[in-house]
């Protein structure tokens, strides 16, 4: 995992024992909201590689641009300039429908709140991405994920019948079942008590260690970031520091 504050550099990329190419790569990424004097630069030139098979945390205070960065990396938002490549696909070349298909195939999400569709059961929520993509859910894999997350007995419940921690675990399961190239987690513990937070973060880390999933988590909570392999700090729309956890 490497960040580049000014110029792209490829020297540090080999510093870690990771022979795989990065799962996502951002170059000279900018995002400006508004125009003229009222324009706000949410991202002011970000270069970033997301290492495959690792747990990366993007940190920063409110308004630093970390959520915008995640949205651009995940193909939820289009950058003003610069490029984003995920799984070898240049996202700026895709239209809205193309981006949607791309998200189906390559991206998983866990959000802070409102993660699940209230009218679907936990099982339907988990299977939704695969259904949208017209794929069959791998039942072995489904079983494994559900076991790891310990939600096997809650599958037929609707979200309103689950606790916050359980809902978030269902959301993690949904993110994992489709085996996305990258699983993005946006403040996944923001609404949880410390016990449930620890549980969910533990699951995210296990999914990286045991299942080989690439995970990017956006958080402002240093304790949550401590679960990650890498931490990238964003300030004022730029990468301020990066830190590797041994």
């Amino acid at each position: 995992m490497t960040s580049h504050t000014s110029q792209p550099s490829h020297t540090s990329q080999s510093s870690h024992h990771n022979p795989k190419p990065p799962a996502a790569r951002a170059r000279a990424l900018t995002k400006t909201y508004g125009t003229g004097p009222t324009a706000v630069d949410a991202l002011a030139g970000v270069d970033l590689d997301v290492a495959a098979g690792r747990f990366t945390a993007i940190m920063g205070p409110s308004g630093s641009g970390k959520s915008t960065l995640m949205h651009c990396l995940a193909g939820l938002d289009t950058p003003s300039s610069g490029s984003v490549t995920v799984a070898g696909v240049e996202l700026s070349s895709l239209g809205d429908t193309g981006l949607t298909r791309f998200r189906r195939d390559h991206i998983g999400f866990v959000f802070q709140s409102f993660n699940l569709l209230p009218m679907l059961t936990a099982r339907q929520n988990i299977a939704l991405p695969a259904e949208l993509a017209g794929r069959r859910t791998d039942s072995d894999w489904f079983g494994t994920v559900v076991d790891v997350l310990g939600i096997g007995d809650r599958l037929e419940h609707r979200p309103s019948e689950l606790s916050g921690g359980q809902q978030q675990r269902v959301a993690v399961a949904r993110g994992l079942v489709a085996r996305p190239t990258i699983l993005f987690a946006d403040e996944p513990t923001g609404n949880l008590d410390s016990h449930s937070s620890a549980e969910v973060l533990g699951f995210l880390r296990r999914s990286v260690r045991d299942l080989g999933q690439t995970v990017v988590m956006v958080t402002h909570d240093a304790d949550a970031a401590a679960y990650a392999d890498h931490t990238v700090v964003i300030e004022d729309g730029r990468v301020a520091t990066e830190r590797q956890v041994a």
């Binding site: 959520s67 949205h71 995940a74 939820l76 938002d77 809205d96 429908t97 949607t100 298909r101 998200r103 189906r104 195939d105 999400f109 959000f111 709140s113 409102f114 993660n115 569709l117 209230p118 009218m119 679907l120 339907q124 939704l128 991405p129 259904e131 949208l132 993509a133 017209g134 609707r158 979200p159 309103s160 949904r174 946006d186 609404n191």
Partner: protein, 842 residues
């Protein structure tokens, strides 16, 4: 609280659009109806007054010619002039072409003072033998100034020359044709004297008193002003009845509006539950919150009711202008808006809005202050159907059902209407259980659309009360429409059966029977009939005239029984008879009358002829003379002229082939042929051949037209309620879209394409509409059955319920299409949200 109130009205104005539109449509309808009714009344009264401009005294009560003459001579003695206002009805022909068999004619005065007709072209008649035509009637029938018209039948007919055309009058004396009174009397047929209008400017003393003195007491002598007052009251009552009928549809529209508004308030206020909780947190009492919400409803009500009045005024003027252009003869005067209608409409709109907002306001403001502090309640608010509601619904259903049963046994319309309404409210109360069940059922089909279908079904099921309210508003219209369609189809079926019996033959040209002659129709006449436009099939029938007598006495029937009715051929006991063969007539006659295939020993006689002979069904008569004579049993039939019918073999046996010739041509009209045109053309042929024309073509067409007009007008009026309901569906969907913004963003993030999102909403909308359509068709059919049991079985036995399957299917299809239309705007709005926006926006 005022700042909060103003701010919330400002912020949420757009969300109230549907409620506002619903009220505007209802109020506008009432106001426009009032305006048009006023215009119609003004038009009628203007014309009425114009017809009596120069009249001083009106005398009613003189009907017979002698009585009328007596009034006239009395007027003459006083030094005044009089015109007899009378109506005549009978056949009018131009150049041997019968324009109408039942044309109306009125009278025109020769005295310019009493002559009220406004000349459009030509000159006024100066004496008998001259006539005026109404300009529109002249155009319709192709009558020009200078044409000679034959007014009346046979030798009584009067020949008149058209000297001019007149503007149309919608007053009681308005008529397509005006003759002088003497001509009208001479034309025979039925003359109804309305009154004698008198110009008495030069009379001595007070003419009213003078006339009362001379004339018998039973004559009503009034000054023209008093007479007009009386007539105005009558004319106004007619208009008022029509406007009251229209108010029934306004009531339906308002009922639907109330459902839509209540639903809008429910959704809007539920969405703002957190705002209310926050207000409670910062110190507002529950009453303050409630009052603020109610005032908001009041503001919406006042605003939309006022808009509705403006819309109604515009619509009234617009419709009157359009109607004046399309139907220039329409009696529309100046459009004015009576205060009662405008005020009533405005107040109704206001009350419906405020009233519909009451319950939702109470429910929404019951929120506890703590709710504001809890994390956002995410989406899946499931309302549970209250037991109170279900129990109330059950009670309504029971009462309504009992009333309906009572109505069917007692045949009382009012009881049926009450039962219908009460039971309908019961159905609506059970809606939150009924609709989701149906949605689940229909959803099985929708699920085939894949994820969007499943999502749509899930969405439609997540809030049963909202689903019920939304679909329920459409249900009102669909139920009434399908009830109407089933009712009309049933009525049409029943009427058709009756018509088939009464008028089995569209038209029959029958050779006249004059004693001693054996007139027949020539091959040329038959060819001419066949070649007439609008004739699908024409069949020549062989026949002859045979002696008819009772078996016992050796004499003719008429002489034997001494029946005084009828004249000429009937009493002579010489009866024209046609020989019929099933093969040639099966597709010519309507229905399956028995007379098409008579048994060898049966004689079918028209009822009138039978009565003329003093015969009953089953009587035995001897037909024919000498060795060929046969004893036949009499059966009744009608609709083909005054001939008897026997089987063709019987005819052959009776006559041994001698004296048989073509005595009648029966005609089947082509589908869609203009009845009046065909009748006119055939009567021309008949007149040329000296044949008599009979048949039920015009009556059949008239009944069909009446049913069509009734159906069309009622459907158009019910459409108002349906449109309001559709706005309601679009609105519910639009508001749901606002609520589900984050959800849609999440779906989009997870890989739902824009198209799929639109399909999801479209499927939800169509699902609601189809469910309402299916339930509405079922309910409508049920109510129609009850209606038929209540109203028609009494009149006509064995009424069979006729289900117009195609039409009912079209209703469900139209509901689905309408549902799709209703979702266009909300779906576009929903699809516009980008995933990132939706997920970050709080």
């Amino acid at each position: 609280m005022r700042t909060v109130l103003l701010a919330s009205v400002r912020v949420h104005t757009r969300r109230y659009v549907a409620a506002v539109v619903a009220v505007v449509v209802g109020v506008g309808f009432i106001v426009a109806t009032g305006g048009l009714a006023a215009a119609a009344r003004a038009g009628l009264l203007d014309d009425l007054r114009a017809e009596y401009t120069g009249v001083d005294v009106v005398v009613q009560g003189a009907y017979r010619e002698r009585e009328v003459d007596r009034v006239r001579s009395a007027v003459h003695d006083l030094g005044g002039t009089a015109v007899v206002n009378a109506e005549w009805r009978g056949p009018v022909a131009l150049d041997g072409r019968v324009l109408s068999d039942e044309a109306d004619a009125g009278t025109v005065a020769l005295d310019p003072e009493l002559r009220w007709q406004q000349l459009a072209a030509g000159t006024y008649p100066t004496g008998p033998g001259q006539a005026l035509v109404d300009a529109h009637a002249a155009e319709q029938f192709g009558v020009r100034i200078g044409d000679r018209l034959r007014v009346g039948r046979g030798p009584d007919a009067v020949q008149v020359r058209v000297t001019g055309s007149t503007e149309t009058s919608s007053g009681p004396l308005g008529s397509p044709l005006y003759l002088t009174y003497p001509d009208l009397r001479r034309a025979g047929e039925v003359v109804v004297v309305d009154n004698v209008a008198i110009d008495c400017d030069d009379c001595a003393g007070t003419p009213v008193d003078a006339l009362r003195e001379v004339l018998p007491e039973r004559y009503l002598v009034q000054p023209a002003t008093a007479y007009l007052q009386m007539m105005q009251t009558e004319a106004t009552q007619g208009v008022d009845v029509i406007s009251l009928v229209l108010l029934v549809f306004a009531a339906i529209a308002f009922f639907v509006s109330a459902l839509v508004i209540a639903n809008t308030f429910s959704i809007l206020l539920a969405q703002r539950a957190r705002d209310f909780a926050l207000l409670r947190c910062v110190g507002a009492t529950r009453r303050q919150v409630l009052r603020s919400v109610r005032t908001e409803a009041l503001v919406v009500g006042v605003g939309s009711a006022s808009l509705g009045v403006a819309a109604g005024v515009g619509l009234g003027h617009g419709l009157a202008a359009v109607a004046g252009l399309v139907w220039p003869g329409l009696p529309l005067g100046a459009v004015s808006f009576p205060l009662a209608w405008v005020g009533g409409g405005w107040l109704t709109g206001l009350l419906v809005t405020v009233g519909a907002g009451l319950l939702p306001a109470r429910r929404a403001t019951r929120v506890s202050p703590l709710a504001a502090l809890r994390p956002a309640d995410v989406g899946g608010v499931r309302t549970r159907t209250g037991w109170v509601r279900l129990a109330g619904g059950a009670v309504l259903l029971l009462i309504g059902g009992a009333l309906l049963v009572l109505a069917m046994s007692s045949h009382q319309l009012a009881v049926m209407l009450a039962g219908g309404m009460v039971s309908y409210l019961g159905v609506l109360a059970w809606g939150p259980l009924l609709f989701p069940a149906l949605v689940r059922l229909v959803g099985q089909v929708v699920r085939r659309l894949g994820v969007p279908g499943a999502l749509a079904t899930g969405n439609a099921l997540r809030n049963p009360r909202r689903t019920a309210a939304t679909a329920g508003s459409l249900l009102v219209g669909v139920t009434l429409v399908s009830g109407l369609l089933v009712g009309v189809a049933t009525a049409r079926g029943t009427v058709t059966t009756a018509m088939n019996e009464e008028y089995p033959v569209d038209a029959a040209l029958t050779a006249p029977v004059t004693p001693g002659s054996n007139a027949s129709l020539s091959a040329g006449t038959v060819r001419e009939v066949r070649a007439t436009d609008g004739v699908a099939q024409a069949q020549a029938l062989p026949g002859t005239t045979l002696a008819l007598r009772l078996p016992a006495a050796g004499k003719g029937v008429g002489a034997g029984t001494g029946a005084g009715t009828g004249a000429g051929p009937m009493l002579s006991g010489r009866q024209p008879v046609l020989g019929v063969e099933p093969a040639t007539l099966r597709r010519l006659v309507h229905g399956r009358p028995d007379f098409v295939r008579p048994r060898a020993d049966t004689l079918f006689l028209p009822w009138e002829v039978m009565a003329g002979y003093g015969l009953d069904i089953g009587a035995e008569v001897v037909l024919g003379r000498g060795p060929d004579a046969r004893t036949l049993t009499v059966a009744g039939a009608e609709g083909f002229g005054n001939t008897g019918l026997v089987a063709r073999d019987t005819l052959r046996a009776l006559t041994a082939g001698a004296g048989v010739s073509t005595r009648a041509v029966w005609v089947r009209a082509a589908a869609g042929a203009d009845a009046a045109d065909l009748r006119g053309a055939l009567s021309t042929v008949a007149a040329g051949a000296g044949a008599e024309l009979s048949g039920g073509l015009e009556n059949r067409a008239f009944v069909d037209l009446q049913l069509d007009v009734l159906t069309g007008a009622t459907l158009a009026l019910l459409a108002i309620g349906v449109v309001i309901a559709l706005i309601g569906i679009g609105n519910t969907l639009g508001l749901s879209v606002l609520e589900r913004g984050r959800e849609h963003a999440l779906l989009r993030a997870l890989g739902l394409t824009r198209r799929q999102l639109r399909v999801t909403l479209a499927a939800e909308s169509a699902l609601l509409a189809v469910v309402a359509g299916l339930l509405g068709v079922a309910l409508g059919t049920g109510y129609a059955w009850i209606g038929v049991r209540t109203m028609m079985v009494d009149v006509i036995e064995d009424t069979q319920l006729v289900l117009p399957g195609g039409q009912l299917l079209a209703v469900v299809g139209a509901a689905a299409v309408a549902g799709l239309l209703a979702c266009i705007l909300p779906a576009r709005k929903a699809a516009r949200v980008t995933p990132a926006q939706g997920l970050t926006a709080e």
